[in-house]
Symmetry: C2
DNA sequence: AGACTAAGCGCAATCGTTTGGCGAAGTCAA
DNA sequence: TTGACTTCGCCAAACGATTGCGCTTAGTCT
C-alpha cells in the first residue's frame, strides 16, 4: 500500500484575513468588514460603489472565508444550532435531522447533533457539552412529558424549540399525533373492526401518548372501549413489537386489529401473528405509524400514518430563526395523513367470504 | 396554550471568563490559564500547589467553561472534526457516526456531520462549508473509488481519513469487505448451492466493489462462475432490491441463491421471490450484508455478514487522533463475521426432502 | 465666502485565551 | 556577601473580526 497522502501539512497555510484584503485593496480593515457584511442591507456606513467593487473583487479573488472563531468571539453569536435527538439510528429522527440541516444551511446556520438515548443523565451531559460550544439556539427532539429539564433549560438564556415531541407550554414543531391516532382508529372502525390491541410507545413521549389517546378515545366514542390489558407500553422496535404481540396473543384474546405507534413495532407484530398461525392483513389488520420507506416495500405492505418528518425538522428551524429575530412564533402542528395498504384491507374481505361460506 | 417560556432572554448572562477567576483568586489571568491547561502535564510553567488549589476551586465554584471561540482563535485549533456521510437515514452510516461521536467525545473533540447524498456537487459544497468552520480534521464516509476529490482535498492541508469505504492510498477505517463477500460465498457453496445471483451496490463504492469481488472470485474458483447478467448494480434499498430481483426472475433463470450487498436489498429480494411464488429460505437461499437489527427480527430471519459499524467509527477517530499527534498510523481493516439464520438454511433440507421423495 | 451636512473611510478598543519573555523572590553553595 | 539557579507569576502581544466614534473632504445653502 502506498504511503497515505492525507497527513497534516506542515506548510503554514497562508491565511487570508480581512487584513490581507484591506492591504491589497488599499483600504482599512474596518471598511472591508463593513462592505462584506452590509452587502445586502447597506444602511448606515456605506462605501463608494468603486470601493465596494474593488474590495469584493479582491475578496473573491483571494477566496476569503471569514474566521468564524474571531467573528463569534467578537459578536457573541456563533451561527450554530445544537440539536439533541434520542438516537440518529432511528430513521425517523435521522429524517427530521436532515430537514433541520437543510433549513439551517439555508438560513446560514450550521448544526451539530448528538443523541441522548432518552437517558436523563446523558441528556444533561450532552446538553452541557453543546452549551459549551455557545450555540445561538438549541433544538430538542427528545423532550419528555414530565420532569423539569426544559424548565431549567429555559433559565439558561439559550432559546430553544422542540421537535417531534411536544410539551405543553414550550415552543415546538410536531405533527398532530392525536389526530394521527384518530385516523388509524377511524380507518379500522370503517372496516368494521372493533377488537383492537394497541402497542404504544415510550410512555414519556408525547408521540406515544397522543397517538394512543387519539386512538383510544375514538374507539371509546364509537362504543368499543379498548381494555387496559390490550394496551402495552414500551420502547418497541421490531423485536420488541414481536414480543409484545406474542404476549397479547398468549392471553388467548381474539383480535380484529392491532395498532402500533411505530412501523417497526408493527412489523414485529406481523411476525408474531405469523408465528401464531394468523395471517396479518387477512385475520388481523395491522396498522403502523410513521410511514418509513420499508413499510411499503415489505411483502405485506403496511397501512400506516404518514407524517412529514423532513418538513417538521425544517419548521423547527424556522421557529428558531424567528425566535432569534425577536419575533414570537407559535408552535407548528402538521397534519398527518393515512396511507392505506394491504395490511388492513384483507380482513373485511376475508370476513365477508367466511360469512358467505357460513 | 400558555405563552412559550423559551424565548431569548434579554438579561445579560454574566459570563465567567479567565478574568473573573483571576480577579477573585487574586492572580493574573495567564496564571489561571496555565493552571487550567497544564493540570496534567505540568512542564515548564508551574504554579505553587496552594495557588493551583485556590484557582481550581474558584474555577469549579464559578462553573467556568472556556470560550471555545477565543481559544481556537488563539490556538488555531478548533477541536472540531467534520464528518461527511452519504446519508444519515441509512442506519449503517448512522451507527458509524454514533461510534465517531463516542470516540471523538472521549478524546475531547466535537463533531459535526452532513450528508452528501453521494452527489459530487453537493459534496463539494458541504466540504467547503465544513472547512469554513476550521475543523482540525475531517472524516469522509462517502469516498468514491475514482475521481480526484480526495487528491484535491489532501492538498488543502486539513488531515482526514476515510471510513466505511476505502480508496487505495488514503488512510481509512473499514471492514474487510472482500473477505465478507468470500464468507457469503463459502457459506452458500458449503450448502451445495451453486447457482447464485448477485445484487451489488453502488459501483463507485468500495463496499459494493469489494463484496462483489470476494463473492464472485470465490464462486469462480469453486468452478461455478457467475454470469454477468446475474450481477446487477445500483443503489438498492428495499424497493430497489425487489425490482432488481424481479427483473432477474423475469429472465426465467433457475436460482439456488441470491447475495445482496446490503440487508435492505436482500429483504426486497425476498419480497420479489415471494411474489413469484417462491419461498425465500426454502426454494432460494437469500443472504444479505450488514446485519442491521431488522434482519433478525423479520419473519424469515436473514443470514447476513456482520460488521462492527460502531467500532469502525471509533477506529476512524483513533486514526485521526494519531494523525493529529504527529504519528503515522496505518489503515484499519476490521474482520467481518458470518451470521447464519434461516434464510439460507432451509434450501438444502428442502432439496434433500425432494430428493428422497423422488 | 462662510457655515453646515453628509458621505466615505480610518482609528482603536474590544471579545477571551494563550504563551514567550521577564522580573522578583527564594534557595543554595562558595 | 555574592553569584547562579529555580520557582512563581505578571506583562503584553497576539489571534481576526466588529463597531462606535470622529476625522476628512466635497457638496449645498444662504
Amino acid at each position: 500500500m502506498p504511503v497515505p497522502r492525507n497527513l497534516p501539512s506542515t506548510e503554514r497555510r497562508d491565511r487570508v484575513t480581512l487584513r490581507t484584503i484591506a492591504d491589497t485593496a488599499g483600504v482599512h480593515v474596518s471598511t472591508v468588514s463593513r462592505i462584506l457584511n452590509n452587502q445586502l442591507g447597506g444602511s448606515q456606513h456605506t462605501a463608494s460603489p468603486e470601493t465596494v467593487d474593488r474590495v469584493l473583487a479582491v475578496a473573491t479573488d483571494l477566496r476569503y472565508t471569514p474566521n468564524q472563531s474571531a467573528r463569534s468571539l467578537r459578536t457573541r453569536r456563533s451561527s450554530h444550532i445544537g440539536v439533541l435527538v434520542p438516537t440518529l439510528t432511528d430513521i425517523v429522527l435521522a429524517t427530521i435531522y436532515e430537514g433541520i440541516e437543510e433549513a439551517a444551511e439555508r438560513h446560514g446556520y450550521s448544526t451539530y447533533v448528538t443523541n441522548s438515548l432518552d437517558d436523563p443523565a446523558r441528556r444533561e451531559r450532552q446538553t452541557a457539552t453543546m452549551l459549551a460550544r455557545n450555540p445561538d439556539a438549541m433544538i430538542f427532539g427528545d423532550a419528555e412529558a414530565h420532569g423539569d429539564f426544559l424548565e431549567r433549560q429555559s433559565r439558561k438564556g439559550v432559546p430553544f424549540c422542540l421537535v417531534s415531541r411536544r410539551v405543553e407550554g414550550f415552543l415546538s414543531a410536531t405533527t398532530d399525533d392525536y389526530r394521527g391516532g384518530q385516523l388509524a382508529a377511524e380507518h379500522l372502525l370503517e372496516l368494521g373492526l372493533v377488537q383492537a390491541a394497541l402497542l404504544s410507545g415510550k410512555p414519556f413521549a408525547s408521540t406515544a401518548i397522543d397517538r394512543t389517546a387519539g386512538f383510544v378515545d375514538t374507539f371509546r366514542d364509537a362504543g368499543h372501549p379498548i381494555p387496559d390489558h390490550l394496551i402495552l407500553y414500551g420502547p418497541f422496535d421490531t423485536a420488541g413489537g414481536r414480543e409484545a404481540m406474542q404476549s397479547i396473543l398468549s392471553t388467548g384474546v381474539t383480535l380484529d386489529a392491532v395498532f402500533a405507534t411505530n412501523d417497526f413495532a408493527a412489523i414485529g407484530a406481523m411476525g408474531a401473528l405469523r408465528d401464531a398461525g394468523l395471517v396479518a392483513g387477512a385475520d388481523v389488520a395491522v396498522i403502523g405509524y410513521n410511514d418509513v420507506p420499508l413499510s411499503e416495500a415489505i411483502p405485506m405492505p403496511l397501512t400506516t400514518v404518514h407524517s412529514a418528518h423532513n418538513r417538521m425538522g425544517q419548521e423547527a428551524v424556522e421557529l428558531i430563526v424567528k425566535l432569534l429575530n425577536g419575533e414570537q412564533p407559535t408552535s407548528v402542528l402538521l397534519p398527518p395523513t393515512l396511507v392505506v395498504r394491504e395490511s388492513t384491507l384483507g380482513v373485511a374481505t376475508a370476513r365477508a367470504a367466511a360469512f358467505r361460506r357460513a
